[in-house]
């Protein structure tokens, strides 16, 4: 275990990180996960000119995670319910700390596949991008759903998942505890503790995406879903959701 203090980038640090991403995108050979890249990243992570300690939080930088659920659980254990949404410098620093895990590796040289920059440096004020950050979203989902986060976080760390992003993009879905409870009741297999088969499949009647995308907005037009009892919401759902209730 290699425990380090969590740090945050200042403005210059964010620029250095952005420059690194630019370099890795335009020169894929630089993105091979090797000692040289590790050393380069380490130098950036602990450069006192561009980073500083973020509170008094410690983190195990060598910890490996099976999926986003594990990652979110670990980070939730550190931050608990602290609001970290606006901490762009810290979230970006964490993204770089776990860079080799949040980037998919390919080929015999373990080349990192670099996605759009907002996956690593959050765009908080951008309502259609903030939830696509690979570190922030597992924390936010864990803060909302705790152990039931498995509904949205069963993917590998580098894979946000189209279904998850569609659900996260619906404000009245992710912010509403009652609706999240409904989703848990419908789509989590309580015995296996994972999403039911085909819960996110577009072709499946009453799937989770349909709940978030179509049904919640429709019901929200008529009902105060933030105050309605969960059982009432369940009875308001169309017949296509019946099979998920069992």
């Amino acid at each position: 275990m290699a425990s380090v203090k969590i740090r945050k980038f200042n403005r210059s640090g964010l620029q250095v990180f952005e420059d690194l991403l630019d370099d890795l995108i335009s020169n894929p050979s630089h993105a091979e996960w090797n000692t040289s890249l590790k050393m380069k990243i380490d130098k950036i992570l602990f450069d006192n000119e561009i980073t500083s300690e973020f509170g008094d939080y410690e983190i195990d930088r060598d910890k490996e995670f099976e999926n986003r659920y594990d990652f979110g659980e670990y980070l939730y254990g550190i931050f608990k319910s602290k609001h970290v949404e606006k901490e762009i410098g810290m979230l970006s620093w964490l993204a770089l700390l776990f860079f080799d895990q949040i980037c998919k590796k390919s080929g015999k040289n373990n080349r990192l596949q670099i996605l759009s920059k907002y996956r690593y440096i959050p765009e908080i004020e951008n309502s259609w991008r903030f939830y696509r950050h690979l570190v922030l979203t597992p924390i936010l989902v864990w803060q909302r759903l705790k152990e039931d986060s498995i509904l949205l976080l069963s993917n590998p760390l580098y894979e946000s998942g189209d279904a998850v992003e569609q659900l996260m993009s619906r404000q009245d879905f992710i912010a509403n505890d009652k609706i999240l409870t409904v989703a848990r009741k419908l789509y989590i297999d309580e015995i296996k503790r994972k999403p039911k088969s085909r819960a996110f499949s577009d072709s499946e009647p009453g799937n989770a995406k349909r709940l978030a995308r179509d049904i919640v907005p429709q019901l929200s037009m008529t009902y105060d879903l933030y105050e309605a009892p969960v059982n009432q919401i369940l009875t308001l759902l169309p017949d296509e959701f019946d099979k998920w209730k069992n």
Binding site: H83, E85, K86, S116, I124, E125, N126, S127, W128, F130, Y131, L140, Q143, R144, D162, E165, Q166, M168, S169, R170, Q171, D172, I174, A175, N176, D177, K209, R213, M221, T222, Y223, D224, L225, Y226, E227, A228, Q232
Partner: protein, 276 residues
């Protein structure tokens, strides 16, 4: 039963014809309320809610509730004794967060199955003209003599459509100042916005295709901040009909927007107020 009680307070209406949407729920029109953010204190946000109480159908057995949503955070406050200007404090919102708001009118007695009486769509806090200026500085014109007798045209030839240019007829611009003439803003700008939005929607299959350093991205960002409007979701990008509807909605919202520098009037109201 949810009995109507006699009106005893100033500002509370006894009866008024409401407008209803297709669900038979009433609508609170956006122009009858707005919010400004007065400040942040630790995790608390201070909001000022302005209400046009003559226009909001508020009965004594009903309560007004303001909801705020931001990055998965939700808070609501009941507006006790609503006034034209209301100070509201909500917990759980980090400094500089920019929540979406929604005003709901609910029965004070919860005997109607939790049904909403009327509500606004989600909307953002009103911004100062300086903030708007920063957001709209992408609205630049290029004066040309190459578009015949057209007043304006959008040029999509730059960077595979990523940087649409608004071309303005040079002769027109000599007589009317497109940047400052309210006639241009009220009569032509909405059509320009619609053509640009539709042009972006047709040319790109997803938001991911649009570089954030381009005009197309800035246009989407500007429209995304219009009250009650949001970009098509990932699956909606493939639905042209839906995108056409969204473009029309964006133009409607833009036209209904009130501007501080125009005395809190819309572009059309400002235009009509002047005798030509």
């Amino acid at each position: 039963m949810n009995q109507r009680l006699p009106n005893m307070n100033i500002g509370l209406k006894k009866s008024r014809k409401a407008t209803y949407n297709y669900t038979n729920r009433g609508t609170i029109r956006q122009k009858h309320c707005h919010v400004t953010i007065a400040g942040y204190y630790d995790d608390q946000i201070h909001i000022k809610l302005f209400l046009d109480l003559d226009k909001i159908n508020l009965f004594e057995d009903q309560v007004l509730v303001l909801e705020a949503l931001y990055a998965g955070i939700y808070a609501r406050k009941e507006i006790i004794n609503p006034k034209p200007e209301n100070d509201i404090y909500m917990d759980g919102f980090p400094e500089n967060s920019n929540p979406s708001f929604r005003l709901k009118l609910l029965p004070s007695i919860t005997e109607n199955d939790g049904k909403i009486i009327s509500a606004t769509k989600l909307f953002k806090a009103t911004k100062s003209d300086e903030e708007r200026e920063l957001e709209t500085n992408f609205l630049s014109f290029k004066y040309v003599n190459t578009i015949g007798d057209l007043v304006w045209k959008i040029n999509w030839d730059q960077d595979d459509g990523m940087n649409p240019e608004i071309l303005i007829n040079e002769e027109f611009a000599k007589q009317y100042d497109p940047k400052n003439d309210i006639r241009f803003h009220a009569l032509i700008l909405p059509s320009i916005i619609k053509e640009i939005l539709l042009g972006i929607f047709i040319r790109f299959n997803s938001i991911e295709e649009i570089d954030e350093r381009t005009q197309a991205y800035r246009w989407l960002k500007f429209c995304d901040k219009l009250n009650g409007w949001s970009l098509p979701s990932a699956d909606e990008w493939g639905d042209l009909k839906k995108k056409i509807v969204l473009a029309e909605q964006a133009v409607q919202i833009f036209a209904d927007e009130k501007w501080q520098s125009f005395g809190n009037r819309t572009l059309l109201q400002k235009f009509l107020a002047k005798k030509w």
